[in-house]
C-alpha cells in the first residue's frame, strides 16, 4: 500500500514540480514548436531528395520527439534534484526505490505520448498526410509503447546523471543517437548494416516501424511483435537504470559525491 502511495502520490508531486519550470514559455517552444519544425524540416528534405513520403517523416520525427521529454524529464529527476540540493533528501528516505522512481516515470510517459501525438496531428494537418481513421487507435497504443521504452532509456540516463554533471549535453547526445540510428528518417533497410544493427537495440526503432505499418493500413495484430520488442527493449533499459541507480547511489554515498554539482 505504501509503495502504491509512493508510486502515485510521488509521481503526481514530481509531475506538478516539473510544471513548476515547464511553464508555457518553455513548453510551447520546446515541446510544441520544435517537433513540428523538425517534422517539416525532414519532410522538405525528403521531398527535395525524392526519398520517402511525408507520412514517413511525420511518424518518424513525431515519435523521435517523444524522446525529448522522456529523456530529459527522467534525467531531471536526478540532475534537477541535485541542482536544487534535494537529491540527498530524496535518497535518504526509507521509501522503496522501485515505486519512487517508476512513479516519477509515469507522468513522463504521458508527456512523451502527448508530444508525439501533437507532432503526428500537426504533421498530418500541415502536410496533408492521410492516415486511415481505423489506424488511429492502434497508433495511439504504439505511441504509448514507444514513450514507455524511451522512458526506460531515460531512467538509465537519469542513473548515469548521478555521476555525469552535464545532463543537458548527455540528453542531447542520446537524442541525436536515436535520430540517426533508429530509422527516424531513413528506413532500417537503407541504413548501413552496422547502424541498423545498433538501431535494433535502441528504443524507438520498432515503435516507429510499427506506427508506419499501421498508418499504411496494417492491423494491430500484424505489428504485435514489433510493439512487444519495443516494450522489451524499454524494460531492459529500465531495469538497467534501476540497477545502475542502486549501484551509483551506493557509490555516491561511499565517495560523498551525491550532492556534488
Amino acid at each position: 500500500m505504501t509503495s502504491l502511495r509512493i508510486f502515485f502520490v510521488g509521481g503526481l508531486m514530481s509531475y506538478r514540480a516539473m510544471f513548476g519550470w515547464l511553464t508555457p514559455g518553455v513548453l510551447i517552444p520546446s515541446l510544441l514548436i520544435s517537433p513540428i519544425c523538425q517534422i517539416l524540416l525532414f519532410a522538405f528534405i525528403g521531398r527535395s531528395a525524392g526519398v520517402g513520403d511525408d507520412e514517413f517523416y511525420v511518424i518518424g520525427n513525431a515519435l523521435n520527439y517523444a524522446a525529448i521529454p522522456c529523456l530529459f524529464a527522467m534525467s531531471a529527476t536526478i540532475e534537477g534534484e541535485r541542482q536544487a540540493s534535494t537529491l540527498s533528501i530524496v535518497l535518504t528516505t526509507p521509501a522503496r526505490r522501485l515505486p519512487l522512481f517508476l512513479g516519477r516515470a509515469l507522468p513522463v510517459v504521458v508527456n512523451g505520448w502527448c508530444v508525439a501525438m501533437v507532432g503526428v496531428l500537426a504533421g498530418v494537418l500541415l502536410l496533408d498526410v492521410h492516415i486511415p481513421g481505423a489506424a488511429w487507435p492502434a497508433i495511439l497504443l504504439v505511441v504509448v509503447a514507444t514513450s514507455v521504452s524511451c522512458t526506460g532509456l531515460g531512467l538509465a540516463m537519469g542513473a548515469v546523471c548521478l555521476r555525469v554533471r552535464e545532463a543537458a549535453t548527455f540528453g542531447n547526445v542520446i537524442f541525436c543517437v536515436l535520430l540517426v540510428f533508429s530509422g527516424v528518417n531513413v528506413a532500417q533497410d537503407d541504413l548501413p548494416g552496422w547502424m541498423a544493427a545498433v538501431g535494433d537495440w535502441l528504443p524507438l526503432t520498432h515503435g516507429i516501424q510499427a506506427a508506419r505499418q499501421l498508418a499504411d493500413g496494417a492491423a494491430l495484430g500484424s505489428v504485435a511483435d514489433l510493439v512487444l520488442t519495443e516494450l522489451a527493449i524499454g524494460a531492459v533499459y529500465a531495469v538497467l537504470g534501476l540497477v545502475l541507480l542502486r549501484f551509483l547511489e551506493q557509490q555516491s554515498r561511499r565517495l560523498d559525491t551525491l550532492t556534488r554539482v
Binding site: P29, C37, F44, I45, S48, N172, C176, L179, N185, V186
Partner: protein, 257 residues
C-alpha cells in the same frame, strides 16, 4: 581606436575560451548539427545522386553556424542576469553592443569549427568530397556568413532579453533557421508565402554565395545582400539595445527574475 580594438579582442578571446571548454556550448554546438547533417545526408544518399550529395553536403557543412548562435545568443543577457553580472555589463562605460558583438563573434568561431568538423566527418563517414571550384571565394563566403551570423546573434541577444525563457526561444529557432536559410532544402521548394522570410535572413544569402563559389560562379551579388541584411540587423540591434537598456534603467527592471 586602440582601446576599442583591445577591448573587443580581450572580450572575444575570453568568450572563445569559455565557449570552447563548455560541453554544452562548445562540444554539443558542433555535435548537434553534425548529427542532423548526418541524418539528412543519409536521406540524400538513398538516391545515390552525386549532384544532390554535393548540394546537401555544402548545406550540411554550414548549418552548424546557425546552431552556434541560437540558444547561446538568445540567452546571453539572461545568463548574465542569472549570474548577477548584467548590472555590471549595463553599467560599464561602453555601449552594450561592444560587449555583445565579441561574444557572438566567438560563437560564430565555434560555428567555423563546426564547418570544418562537418567537412571532415562527411569525408570520413560518407566518403563525400565536396567539389569547390574556387577555394578563396569559398573561404571569403564562409567568413562573411560567419560574420553576419554573429550580427544576427547580436540582434537575438538584444530582442530576447525581456523573455524569461529566452533559451527555449533560441532552441526553437534552430529548425526554422535550417529550413529557411536553404541549407538542405532549396528555398524555392518552400511554400511561396514563406520565402520572403528567407530573404530577410543574411545566412540565406551567405549560403547562396557559398554555393556559387563552390560551383564556380560569382558570389559577390549574394555576398553584398548578405552584408546589407547583416548590417541592417546590427543597426537595428544597436538601436534596440540602447532603448532596452534605457527602459530597464528607467523602470528598474534589469533584474527581471
Amino acid at each position: 581606436m586602440n582601446a576599442l580594438l583591445h577591448q573587443q579582442w580581450t572580450c572575444y578571446r575570453l568568450q572563445l575560451k569559455v565557449l570552447s571548454t563548455s560541453a554544452f556550448e562548445g562540444f554539443l554546438a558542433v555535435l548537434f548539427p553534425l548529427m542532423f547533417a548526418t541524418s539528412a545526408l543519409l536521406v540524400y544518399r538513398v538516391q545515390d545522386d552525386p549532384d544532390a550529395m554535393q548540394y546537401a553536403g555544402l548545406g550540411a557543412a554550414i548549418m552548424g553556424m546557425w546552431t552556434c548562435q541560437g540558444v547561446v545568443a538568445s540567452s546571453l543577457l539572461t545568463r548574465e542576469r542569472w549570474a548577477g553580472t548584467l548590472e555590471l555589463v549595463v553599467a560599464a562605460p561602453v555601449a552594450i553592443a561592444r560587449v555583445i558583438v565579441p561574444v557572438t563573434l566567438a560563437m560564430s568561431t565555434i560555428g567555423l569549427y563546426s564547418v570544418v568538423a562537418t567537412i571532415v566527418w562527411m569525408r570520413w563517414v560518407f566518403d563525400l568530397r565536396l567539389h569547390i571550384e574556387s577555394w578563396p571565394l569559398f573561404l571569403v563566403s564562409v567568413l562573411a556568413t560567419a560574420l553576419t551570423v554573429a550580427l544576427v546573434g547580436f540582434f537575438l541577444a538584444v530582442t530576447a532579453v525581456r523573455f524569461r525563457y529566452s533559451w527555449a526561444l533560441g532552441a526553437a529557432l534552430e529548425y526554422p533557421g535550417w529550413i529557411l536559410c536553404g541549407f538542405l532544402v532549396p528555398v524555392t521548394l518552400l511554400p511561396v508565402w514563406i520565402q520572403p522570410l528567407s530573404w530577410v535572413i543574411p545566412t540565406t544569402w551567405g549560403m547562396a554565395a557559398i554555393r556559387s563559389a563552390a560551383d564556380g560562379g560569382s558570389p559577390w551579388g549574394d555576398l553584398a545582400l548578405c552584408a546589407a541584411t547583416g548590417a541592417a540587423y546590427a543597426v537595428l540591434a544597436a538601436w534596440l539595445g540602447g532603448r532596452l537598456v534605457d527602459s530597464a534603467r528607467r523602470h528598474a527592471t534589469l533584474a527581471l527574475t
